[in-house]
Subunit: 72 residues, 2 copies
Amino acid sequence: MSGKIITNNIKALRFNNGEVTQARLAEKIGVTRQTILAIESAKYSPSLELAFKIADFFSVPIEEVFQYVDAA
Amino acid sequence: MSGKIITNNIKALRFNNGEVTQARLAEKIGVTRQTILAIESAKYSPSLELAFKIADFFSVPIEEVFQYVDAA
DNA sequence: ACATTATGTAAAATATATTATACTTCTTGT
DNA sequence: ACAAGAAGTATAATATATTTTACATAATGT
């Protein structure tokens, strides 16, 4: 049915950028630590705006943070 | 505060691709025509998943459909 | 002028993202 | 072993996106 899922490499990006913590990333972006945690562990996928904010924070395009790929 | 807003060129893309209608785009992507209309007229911004679906439909990266730019 | 198709407006109902709070577990340094 | 910082689990409350339905307007072809 759905076929595709959204994955992310936020954790990897956090460590490629001077060990930024979940709490600090959340604070910088203006969301809660819970939100970062939930997205990072793929509990749900973010709004487009939040996706843009995260991508902007790491200075990369959205596609480098999130991937829309086949589930199987 | 926020400073940035999300814009889109869905309408332009629809006409660059053989005049695909809102209803047809919605149907192909698996959402309601109202959703396409609301997003196209920036009543609200979509979920990341829907943004991916729209971008995929037009075979372009998300950044070519949606732009996160300064409001002013 | 009429019929048809596409787009816009509106509002209530539902689903999903985000917050807030509190507690737990893991790591690391001392 | 202990303390402190970071990450994980859980849940209720709130905000926002999406659906559904219904009607209104705009554009086009006959």
